[in-house]
């Protein structure tokens, strides 16, 4: 607010015009700001605008309860943002709520089922050796293989750590390779080899599978081969084929690179996402290799990674690649040229900054020892949302009208003060809500509307306390102006104390609770604060000014402070008398 704050209470006491000017300037400034910012209506929540709201709860893995912390939750929010907005949703918002919830709000007009599928599932990241891969274009039998030239990006690196070069999946100019059937056979061979040699990558070739297990493996391999042949990754339904694969099983999966879908046969997970300590996107300025993603592994992860890369390096493309699989989809499949030891690695390729960061994010996300459970999904149709908004507005208008009528009947002339005060309160509330939309992402939802309606009562109560005090003073036989000045300090204290209690309730609710309760608490707190502002800067000064008017000071019949109607005592001259009169014990029941 541009308006200066100085002299607030003093001006409320003695310079009523100044306070009035202050609050009017504030209103004009805020309203101007509102129109200038282009957000002249409050942002509406899902329940009023229509759309889907999903609440997810983080569940830590056993023994890692401390992993539900802000950093991890923020990473998760980033990832989910990517996943949801990857659906082409422009205004989906993902935010944490409380300590362990994430709220995903998706406006209407989006396929909410798909969105739910995206955010509601557990994200799992694995590094799996690639056994076979090809572009999946439905009928394509002679499609370019993505992994034809594994060393496309093996630019020399001066970094001490060994280096995994990104796979050439980005190089579109791959040579045409064998047909699906031959590939399938290759995959099947590879699988068999894999079953015997690297079923447990860390155990490496030292494993000696029993006959039965090898037989089972080949049966599984045959099944996988059939699956791979049939797989068409361009079909939406099959894109998440790898989703439910267990870590220790080989699987088929899809992955999209540069807009082209590829299908993969992947070996058992060699390294877990949780083995990645951290990942980051960095710009390699020394070698001009462009954006790279660096990974740090945990101790265990580092040795696992060394083993698998050592093995992969011996193979030829595409079997020297490992697929980074997030949620059953291959997000990247870099190839490896040598065993990578030392617990850290780099992935390079022709990444843009965005791609690198996205990959780094995904790698970090996989490292989160969190899973997310869908706690609630609310889908509100646009029609229902509009109706709820409508009902809320009508209820608010009726409530306000009823209060105004009550004030008119009971306070008559004083409503000239009460009603504008309510209006000023309403305008300020509206404008601030509108400004808070873009400001802090405040969205007006149904409970918030309720909070605002309930606040009408709280605001009106402040006037009632003040007016009743004034009336008490008038009943004492005082004239209006001294009554106002005497009533104010006492009313002020009562208003402050009770508003403080109300604000305390709102603040505690806002901090502690989750979900709808929060929106409600926010409005309640906001309106309570505004109540204090309005009473101090508007109601009281206006009362002071109007007390000078003849209509009020003479106690006109309709002024609401007619001493006769209030039953004020006639003026008393003797000092002793009022004590006597006032102290007279009265009990009309006995009379």
């Amino acid at each position: 607010m541009a308006a200066p704050k100085r002299g607030r209470s003093a001006s409320a006491q003695s310079k009523p015009w100044r306070s009035l000017a202050l609050i009017l300037i504030a209103i004009v400034a805020l309203t101007g700001g509102m129109f200038a910012s282009g957000h002249s209506t409050p942002r509406l929540g899902i329940d009023l605008a229509g759309g889907t709201s999903i609440t997810l709860r983080a569940v830590a893995q056993p023994g890692e309860e401390s992993s539900i912390n802000k950093t991890n939750m923020d990473t998760a929010v980033d990832i989910m943002n990517r996943r949801v907005n990857g659906l082409g949703v422009s205004e989906a918002e993902v935010q944490t709520q409380g300590s362990k919830n994430i709220i995903v709000n998706i406006p209407k007009g989006t396929n909410s089922d798909e969105a739910r599928q995206q955010v509601g599932t557990t994200a799992k990241l694995y590094f799996r050796p690639v056994l076979a891969t090809e572009a999946s274009t439905g009928a394509a039998t002679t499609s370019p293989s993505p992994s034809a030239s594994g060393s496309a990006s093996s630019s020399p690196s001066s970094s001490p750590s060994s280096k995994a070069s990104a796979s050439s999946s980005k190089t579109g100019s791959a040579t045409p390779t064998a047909t699906a059937t031959s590939q399938g056979r290759a995959a099947s061979d590879a699988l068999k080899a894999d079953a015997s040699s690297s079923a447990s990558p860390s155990a490496s070739a030292s494993a000696t599978p029993s006959a039965s297990s090898s037989a089972a493996a080949s049966a599984a391999a045959a099944k996988l081969e059939a699956q791979y042949t049939a797989l068409d990754c361009t079909k939406k339904a099959s894109q998440n084929v790898g989703k439910n694969a267990k870590a220790e099983d080989a699987t088929v999966a899809c992955g999209q690179v540069s807009g082209v879908w590829y299908k993969y046969v992947l070996g058992p997970a060699a390294v877990d996402g949780t083995d990645v300590k951290k990942a980051a996107a960095v710009l390699n300025t020394t070698t001009a290799a462009g954006w790279q993603v660096t990974m740090d592994f945990t101790g265990k992860g580092g040795s696992k990674f060394a083993t698998i890369t050592g093995e992969l390096a011996k193979n030829t493309a595409p079997q020297n690649e490992f697929g980074i699989v997030l949620d059953g989809q291959v997000v990247s499949s870099p190839s490896v040229s040598s065993s990578i030891t030392g617990g850290s690695a780099e992935i390079s390729g022709s990444f843009t900054q965005e791609e690198a960061q996205s990959l780094a994010n995904m790698l970090s996300y996989g490292a989160l020892p969190l899973t997310f459970k869908t706690d609630s999904v609310t889908t509100v149709t646009a029609a229902l949302g509009g109706e709820q908004l409508h009902a809320g507005l009508i209820a608010g208008a009726i409530g306000l009208a009823l209060v105004v009528i009550y004030l008119l009947i009971f306070y008559r002339g004083l409503s000239v003060i009460a009603i504008p005060s309510l209006l000023v309160s309403a305008i300020l509330t509206y404008v601030i809500m509108a400004l808070l939309g873009p400001g802090i992402g405040f969205a007006l939802n149904l409970p918030a509307v309720c909070g605002a309606i309930v606040a009408i009562g709280i605001t009106a109560d402040s006037f009632i306390v003040f007016f009743e005090r004034i009336r008490d003073e008038i009943r004492e036989g005082r004239s209006l102006r001294p009554s106002v000045e005497r009533a104010w300090p006492r009313a002020r204290r009562t208003i402050l104390v009770s508003d403080f209690v109300s604000f305390l309730a709102a603040a505690v609710l806002f901090i502690v609770t989750v979900g709808k309760v929060q929106g409600f608490a926010f409005t309640l707190g906001l309106t309570t604060v505004l109540d204090v502002v309005v009473v101090f800067l508007f109601t009281k000064p206006l009362m002071t000014i109007l007390a000078r008017r003849k209509f009020f000071s003479d106690g006109h019949k309709w002024s609401g402070i007619d001493p006769k109607a209030l039953g004020a005592k006639p003026p008393l001259r003797r000092t002793r008398r009022p004590a006597g009169s006032a102290a007279g014990p009265v009990d009309p029941k006995e009379a």
């Binding site: 229902l384 009632i464 009336r471 036989g477 004239s479 204290r493 309640l524 004590a579 006032a582 102290a583």
Partner: protein, 374 residues
């Protein structure tokens, strides 16, 4: 002036007045009775917890459905394999609640329902809740409630005194118990909206109590320096003095809530608006009652256990007895005698309704208005 204004004047002049403190035993009794009923209702009948607390799904169809409730119920049960509760809302839309299904299954149920009911599945609003979400909301709410109570007791103990804080707390618990009890007895559905409403009652109930306490504190500032009134007398006067305000505040608070309830019920049948306003309505009424009939008398009781105040009471009663023995009124008659009949104070010691100004200040003759008199 309106009747209430006259009531205010008469209350102010002490012409009318109810002896809230003197009759406190009756009100304590009534409150204890209500509370026991509420607790019994809660244990015997239990709360009708909404879908949000059990886990399940609630679907709302577009308005103007042709299907009947029983038809929809059958569809829903066939689709889900669980019991379904179907309500027809005010605008002709159907609200179908199915408890116990998990969020994964609800999609297929929604599709099936949209086929059966012959509406576009996109136009069905759905609320799917895992069983732990409602619990979490409720747990957080209890947590908030506990923290709020502690803070408010500390605050009131500082701003007023611990006895008032304690009395306010008792009144608060009283309100919440009554509200929950009514929910149990009537069988209203408990939803997160209800919890929101319940939490707001906290603020409101205390708000009301605080205003009475504020007046009480002001009036009892110099209580030990006089011998005319006991603490209870003044407490009673505080209640009566703020009675008009309490009535006004409660009416003004209830009006918008009633509008909300009416609109929520009339237009939407069920929903957040309705849930919040219903619990608010019940709680506000209980809150107004408790701040007048419970909180302040309780303060008086607690206060009169204090040695100082006890001694004061003794002195006051002794003085009254003496005045009675002398057969003369304790005080000179009021200025405008024509208004009222006066009883001698001693005859009616328990039911004294005091004048509105502070006893201590009155004798100092302060506050004589300098302005124009009428």
């Amino acid at each position: 002036m309106s009747k209430l204004g006259n009531l205010g004047a008469r209350l102010h002049r002490g012409e009318v007045g109810y002896d809230f403190v003197g009759n406190r035993k009756i009100w304590y009794g009534i409150s204890i009775l209500i509370t026991i009923t509420a607790i019994l209702g809660l244990t015997v009948r239990g709360l009708n917890m909404g879908i949000e607390f059990q886990g399940g799904a609630a679907f709302t169809t577009p308005k103007g459905m042709s299907a009947s409730v029983s038809q929809a119920e059958k569809y829903a049960e066939d689709a889900s394999g669980h019991d379904a509760v179907v309500q027809k809302l005010g605008d002709g839309s159907l609200r179908i609640q199915i408890a116990g299904i998990d969020t994964d299954k609800s999609d297929s149920i929604k599709k099936q329902l949209s086929k059966d009911l012959n509406v576009d599945s996109e136009s069905i609003a759905a609320d799917l809740v895992g069983p732990s979400w409602g619990d979490q909301v409720a747990n957080k709410a209890w947590e908030g409630l506990a923290i709020f109570m502690v803070l408010v007791v500390i605050y009131l103990a500082i701003a007023f005194e611990w006895r008032m804080a304690l009395a306010a707390l008792v009144a608060l618990i009283h309100d919440i118990t009554i509200t929950i009890g009514i929910y149990a007895l009537v069988g209203f559905e408990v939803t997160p909206g209800t919890v929101i409403g319940l939490l707001t009652i906290l603020g409101y109930s205390l708000y009301d109590t605080v205003v009475v306490f504020d007046s009480l504190k002001e009036q009892t500032k110099d209580i030990t320096k006089q011998t005319r009134w006991t603490y209870s007398d003044i407490a009673n006067r505080s209640i009566n003095g703020t009675l008009v305000r309490s009535i006004n505040t409660t009416v003004v608070a209830l009006l918008p809530v009633a509008a909300l309830l009416f609109i929520g019920g009339g237009f939407l049948g069920a929903g957040v608006l309705n849930d919040i306003s219903l619990s608010l309505f019940v709680g506000l009424a209980a809150g107004a009652y408790s701040s007048i009939f419970i909180a302040t008398p309780l303060v008086a009781d607690l206060k009169e256990a204090e040695p100082q105040i006890k001694a004061l009471k003794k002195r006051v009663l002794a003085k009254r007895a003496q005045a009675a023995a002398q057969g003369e009124p304790a005080e000179s008659p009021a200025a405008n005698v024509s208004d009222d009949d006066y009883d001698d104070e001693p005859e009616d010691a328990a039911a004294v309704v005091g004048p509105r100004t502070q006893p201590a200040s009155r004798n100092r003759g302060r506050g004589r208005p300098s302005g124009k008199r009428r």
